[in-house]
Symmetry: C2
């Protein structure tokens, strides 16, 4: 599996989003992506770096101003205001788009996420880890397009990937006439969402255990020196990361439905009313997820909530 870097991706790799739209299962996707995210995020954070090395690395990526500014605009701003660039499946979603622009609580929560995106240098993140930044075969997974990379909140990467899997899930009903059994395929997507987070959690905390005696300086072993406190810090860290994942994931979903750039998952549904129906379910779920993210304790609860919306 390829980490961030420039290389030629060999055929028959295809863009993951195309595969998800076509209903193709990728049995190793969750394993590969969780490994990629656990390693890139862990090794560039203060869990592995000294404060000196971390600050040097932050400085190195501060130059990526324009792409960060672009992301901040399209993800955290455009969908929440009138903009000539915004579009949605009209007229079906006109009222839905307006509701997003008038939802004070949603805007309040989005502001918290934007502030984390702009201010929190937690790890070197890919910065654009949606399902068109991943190329796949059934055996191989390659992450591409690293040009947005900068020091930001880890949840922006984990959220981008999981949020885009949720978009793919809600688009399936629009593709029921093509390819394999979409009911089974939706189950596979939900399992992949669940596996991605659970494997990420497992791999990330395993790296933390492996390197608990340094060189990372976030939690010095001389201070966090008993099993009880180590359990507490891990729970607290991973809980915040989980909530960030859900928040950023939801924000990335919303912007693909009522913001500037849309995604093939929905765009390829030809019939507008059908597309709107799929998009509305995804949008409503994303709004709830963003506003209520801190009430979720684990990924199973998220999967159950997706199923509830889809009943």
């Amino acid at each position: 599996m390829c980490l961030i870097g420039m290389r030629y991706i060999e055929p028959p790799h295809i863009i993951l989003r195309k595969g998800l739209t076509a209903g193709i299962e990728y049995p190793k996707l969750a394993e590969h992506m969780s490994e990629y995210m656990a390693k890139t995020l862990f090794y560039t954070s203060l869990l592995y770096l000294t404060t000196t090395d971390h600050k040097s690395a932050v400085a190195k990526y501060c130059g990526n101003v324009e792409l960060c500014r672009h992301t901040a605009r399209v993800v955290f701003s455009d969908p929440y205001k009138m903009s000539e660039y915004n579009r949605w499946t009209t007229p079906y979603l006109d009222a839905d788009a307006e509701a997003v622009r008038e939802d004070n609580i949603l805007k309040l929560e989005v502001a918290e996420l934007k502030s984390k995106f702009c201010e929190r240098a937690q790890a070197l993140i890919h910065g654009d880890l949606h399902t068109s930044s991943v190329m796949v075969t059934t055996d191989s997974t390659q992450v591409i397009d690293p040009e947005f990379a900068f020091y930001g909140p880890m949840g922006f990467d984990t959220g981008a990937f999981i949020g885009n899997l949720i978009l793919a899930y809600f688009a399936q009903d629009g593709h029921a006439d093509k390819g394999p059994d979409r009911k089974l395929y939706k189950e596979w997507i939900l399992k992949t969402i669940s596996d991605t987070w659970n494997l990420f959690y497992e791999k990330f905390t395993a790296l933390w255990d492996k390197h608990k005696d340094g060189p990372g300086e976030a939690y010095l072993p001389a201070i966090y020196n008993n099993p009880e406190v180590r359990v507490l810090i891990k729970q607290k860290y991973m809980e915040e990361l989980f909530h960030d994942t859900l928040g950023f994931g939801a924000a990335k979903m919303i912007r693909r439905i009522v913001g500037v750039a849309h995604v093939e998952d929905f765009e390829s549904i030809k019939e507008a009313s059908k597309r709107a129906e799929c998009e509305r379910k995804a949008l409503n779920f994303a709004k709830t997820l963003l506003k209520e993210r801190k009430k979720f304790h684990n990924i199973s609860e998220v999967v159950s909530a997706i199923k509830d919306v889809d009943k």
Copy 2:
């Protein structure tokens, strides 16, 4: 009043900490310090800067690695582990120092503050804003020693100043035999703590109102476009800043009692048992404040809690 910069401070200015130890009232202190903090923090944050200018400024100060590393060590690490550099008023506080090193909940909360200190580039902070970094006469207030300045959490400055005022308060009983009526002076310190925060709140939010139409990009006027949402974002922002202030303030207090460098407020109390008694009250209050900071809603509640400890 002087903002961060190099200049000659004219006599008869003295170090504020010396004035507080001698029991001298500074009627303009709260007004001046709240003004200094409101202006430096507001104008260097995303409330006033574009995301582009903010990121450029963050990069500019990322070079200040060694002093940040030193601060992280002495404030968030040393007091919570065995270290040959730590000291305290022994034997009186031996058990208290040990209790700090064994308090898992305290360590968990300190980790959250350390992570904010190392990762969150909220504003250009002074970085060492205790009462020996301020020179005063009854009319004039000058902030000195800007060499620790970097992009960090605002609460680290507001907390440093208020935390050191609380230290000065708890030291007063050790100086009851010298100078003016210390009972009255303690009331003045409490009033100064309260005025400092309340005036800071007022001035900071007034700057925000004044510049609500830009150039700051944290809350775009096209999105945060109704009075209700503007009230909500301000409440949320200021509440977090208040809790950060209390947390960082408490951490700065703890490190001055059981950590490496101590302060003249207590050091000048000659009788060790008397000094230890004052320090223990301050330490116990700081531990509570750090662990329970999110339960406080305003500075009056903090002042009441200080009085309760001192009964």
